[in-house]
């Protein structure tokens, strides 16, 4: 026999429709339509009611406690109100603060076509007693073709005796209030820091040889303070620009960027009055190193600073400024070792890796020249463009002013002389009657008389 048959008989004997033993139809008993129990009898449930009351009381206590807590710890409110008010009321500041930032520095290395990749530029300008030049500088800013929202401006104002700070602040506010959002710049910071510099900022004392080393060191200090406070992890490029540049191409940022060099400077000249030859190389701090200069550096002591453009240190270095050809290719590049600070475009990674403007004697140089030297030391490319020129403002030197005064005096003397001559002639004319008119009158009379005499002679 199969075991299946052995176990099945009880299953086959199933008489009920439902497994649980109830029949499908009520079978007799208390009648077809009777329902047990016979009348509605609400069960008395004191336990349930008590529980509900307890819950209610608990809820009330919680709510009271909660309100008291709101009183005692005001900081709790910030988190709860938006939830309670369904975001109808804006949350307080604290709740909206962002404190964590994440940056990948590989994205801000700087490329040749930065404007397409939306690379940010930090434009740095150290200022001191610069109020007269500011309106011109802001004109240049407005004209820049690089997208303005990608340019962050940073200024360091220090030791100024004129209204540089207030003027700068006004001009910047005006700049940012421009109705065209394309004209508005990015982050704008003004650092106010006085270093207590003793050196005057007028042309003569600024460029005198004796004052140079000290002046360059304090300039370097100002530049470093500005950069270290303004450089952000978002910057791909840093552009240093003096405010007293008179003429520069609007596309200067793109033009310099296109070369894709770590540090790049244009040539800087300045216009001159005609009697001084019309134009002149201005920035002599961009140069190539020479054997003579290296030998000279060996002989100097640790703190000495070689400054270019002075007879005291004959370095025989090839200067970027002297190599200019007005008709040369503006894209021509030249490797240089020292750089001038009038207009430097550098990749931000140069500054991030630690290159700065030495405020001490670094390889016998300071400030921008030392910057070039240090960039070279860290194997960055440093390049100048001999035929791409920007023009620095012409500020007459004391000699020039003296010469101009002399010329002015000469001119005045000449004018006075001419005036005196003229006056003398007039005086002579007034004092002595000119006889010629009388002569003419007499001549006419005589001629008339002669005519009359002649006519009767003819008639007979």
């Amino acid at each position: 026999m199969l075991p299946l048959h052995a176990s099945s008989p009880r299953g086959k004997m199933q008489r009920h429709v439902y497994q649980n033993g109830h029949a499908a139809y009520p079978l007799g008993g208390s009648g077809t339509f009777s329902i047990q129990p016979h009348k509605f009898q609400p069960r008395s449930q004191p336990a349930l009611r008590r529980r509900r009351q307890l819950l209610l009381r608990l809820g009330l206590i919680t709510a009271t406690f909660f309100l008291v807590a709101l009183f005692v710890f005001p900081s709790l409110r910030t988190g709860l109100i938006p939830a309670l008010s369904l975001g109808l009321f804006s949350a307080s500041e604290d709740f909206q603060l962002e404190t964590v930032r994440y940056y990948d520095l590989n994205n801000v290395q700087g490329t040749a076509r930065g404007w397409e990749r939306e690379e940010r530029i930090l434009l740095c300008a150290p200022l001191r007693d610069a109020a007269p030049h500011l309106p011109m500088f802001f004109g240049h800013l407005r004209n820049l073709t690089y997208p303005h929202n990608l340019i962050d401006l940073a200024f360091l104002v220090g030791d100024s005796k004129d209204n540089t700070l207030s003027l700068l602040s006004d001009l910047l506010t005006e700049l940012q209030a421009h109705e065209d959002p394309k004209q508005q710049f990015g982050e704008i910071s003004i650092m106010e820091k006085d270093f207590g510099q003793k050196v005057n900022q007028d042309v003569e004392s600024r460029h005198g040889f004796a004052a140079q080393a000290g002046r360059r060191k304090s300039m370097a200090q100002a530049r470093n303070w500005l950069l270290s406070a303004a450089l952000r992890p978002t910057h791909s490029w840093v552009y240093w620009r003096d405010v007293d540049v008179e003429t520069a191409p609007f596309t200067i940022l793109e033009d310099l960027m296109r070369h894709n060099k770590d540090v790049i400077v244009p040539n800087v000249w300045r216009p001159l009055p005609d009697w001084l030859g019309g134009e002149q190389p201005y920035d002599l701090n961009s140069w190539q190193e020479s054997e003579t200069a290296l030998a000279l550096a060996e002989t100097l002591d640790e703190d000495a600073v070689i400054v270019e453009g002075y007879a005291e240190y004959a370095t025989w270095r090839p200067h970027l400024a002297y190599l200019r050809d007005p008709y040369g290719d503006p894209d021509m590049e030249m490797e240089i070792d020292g750089v001038g600070g009038v207009s430097i475009l550098a990749k931000a990674k140069v500054f991030r890796s630690g290159v700065h403007f030495p405020a001490f004697s670094f390889e016998k140089h300071a400030e921008t020249e030392g910057f070039g030297k240090m960039a070279k030391r860290m194997k960055f490319s440093v390049v100048g463009l001999p035929h791409y020129t920007i023009w620095h403002l012409y500020e007459p030197s004391v000699d020039d002013i003296r010469h101009m005064e002399e010329m002015e005096q000469e001119r005045k003397a000449k004018e006075a002389e001419e005036k005196a001559k003229k006056e003398r002639i007039e005086k002579i004319n007034a004092q002595f009657d000119n006889p010629s008119s009388q002569w003419d009158k007499d001549k006419d009379n005589i001629r008339e008389m002669a005519k009359q005499e002649y006519v009767p002679n003819e008639e007979p």
Partner: protein, 370 residues
């Protein structure tokens, strides 16, 4: 059986009282948080209004639905920035910078224990972009998220996390490999660049102090910042030690770890004079004895912890620097600077700028033991 009471039967005074109470509560809840002065933690002073702001400051998030106004013109009064011996009273901000290759939970726990007001502390981290770096970043971000959403008092003013490719990625970061003398120059040059990147991008115009704290410093006194700042020195380093199990005495013991804090010796100067321009003179290697006086060896547990010594070279494991030293240009040279590199070169460069370095031989911080 309670039946619902009809409104008519309720005393009108009760309704009026309830209404007054509700209005009072609503008024109180909705009005008071807006005047921030009543809040115990007032941060409005050091908050930027824009995402374009120094990373050392927190900023207000822009609302997505409104057109953002142009960034404002911001004045920073750096003349008023102080670095004094009592930084807490003067509300001086501290930026703690850490080049991070591996994340140690003990490091973070120790950081949280610092008793300096956290709302005056900004943190900066730089991590390499490799496998270890990714793991460390994930661990770090988890902890940062936890802390910055935790209790107000423990939150830091801001946290900046930077990632950067290291130029000479060393195959192995184990302690033995890292300290091989031939690897040192490249390793320390890369380290110097990482430190400079971190420093110059995170130092804001409001920062007063920089605390360099390596990621493997796992134990410091909670008052570290106050204690070091109290000496009012431009650059000051505590003595970095390491806890270990001493087999000789069969118990836990401490030993000096950081040998980059030293006072120069005539021997080292002579060695330097004979070296080529690009060569560096390293400390702590038996191959080149320099006979410099190492701060690690000056420790005396019974002596006054406030004893100061003037140093010529410093290490970066724990180092408190006045921000103006860095602002003047003192950085970590990634090249041979007077035959010194990284933190030791930094001390030299600072001294060229007129800033002296100091050490506290009897004030200890502890390094992780691998």
């Amino acid at each position: 059986m309670p039946t619902p009471r009809s409104l008519r039967r309720t005393n009108p005074i009760t309704i009026a009282l309830a209404a007054v109470l509700i209005i009072g509560f609503l008024f109180f809840i909705l009005s008071s948080p807006s005047d921030g002065s009543s809040l115990p933690v007032s941060r409005s002073k050091d908050t930027a209004s824009n995402a374009l702001s120094p990373p050392s400051l927190p900023f207000r998030k822009a609302k997505s639905n409104e057109r953002t106004p142009p960034p404002p013109v911001v004045h920073y009064h750096m003349n008023n920035l102080t670095t004094s011996s009592d930084p807490v009273t003067n509300r001086e901000t501290v930026l703690i910078l850490t080049p991070l290759a591996r994340f140690y939970q003990e490091y973070w726990d120790n950081l949280l224990k610092l008793s300096y007001p956290h709302e005056l502390i900004s943190l900066g981290f730089i991590l390499p972009k490799n496998k270890d770096g990714n793991a460390a970043t994930a661990a770090l971000q988890a902890q940062v998220a936890k802390t910055q959403s935790g209790p107000q008092k423990k939150r830091f003013a801001s946290v900046t996390i930077l990632r950067q490719d290291t130029e000479s990625p060393l195959q192995s970061q184990t302690e033995a490999e890292r300290h091989k003398i031939e690897n040192q120059k490249a390793r320390r040059a890369a380290m110097a660049k990482a430190r400079n990147s971190l420093l110059f991008t995170t130092m804001g115009p409001t920062t007063s102090w920089i605390l360099w704290l390596d990621s493997d410093i796992i134990e410091t006194p909670a008052t570290l910042i106050q204690d070091l700042a109290a000496h009012d020195k431009p650059i000051i380093a505590p003595n970095c030690f390491q806890r270990y199990y001493n087999e000789d005495i069969k118990m836990q013991d401490v030993r000096p770890y950081d040998f980059n804090n030293w006072i120069d010796s005539p021997t080292a100067k002579e060695l330097g004079a004979k070296m080529g321009n690009d060569e560096i003179l390293l400390e702590g290697y038996a191959e080149i004895p320099t006979y410099r006086s190492l701060m690690g060896m000056m420790h005396d547990s019974s002596a006054d912890p406030n004893t100061e010594v003037q140093l010529d070279g410093v290490g970066g494991t724990t180092l408190l620097v006045k921000a103006e030293v860095h602002r003047d240009g003192a950085m970590f040279p990634p090249f041979a600077f007077y035959h010194l590199i990284e933190t030791e070169g930094f001390a030299k460069m600072a001294s060229r700028l007129g800033w002296q370095s100091w050490g506290l031989p009897n004030y200890l911080v502890y390094h992780y033991n691998e």
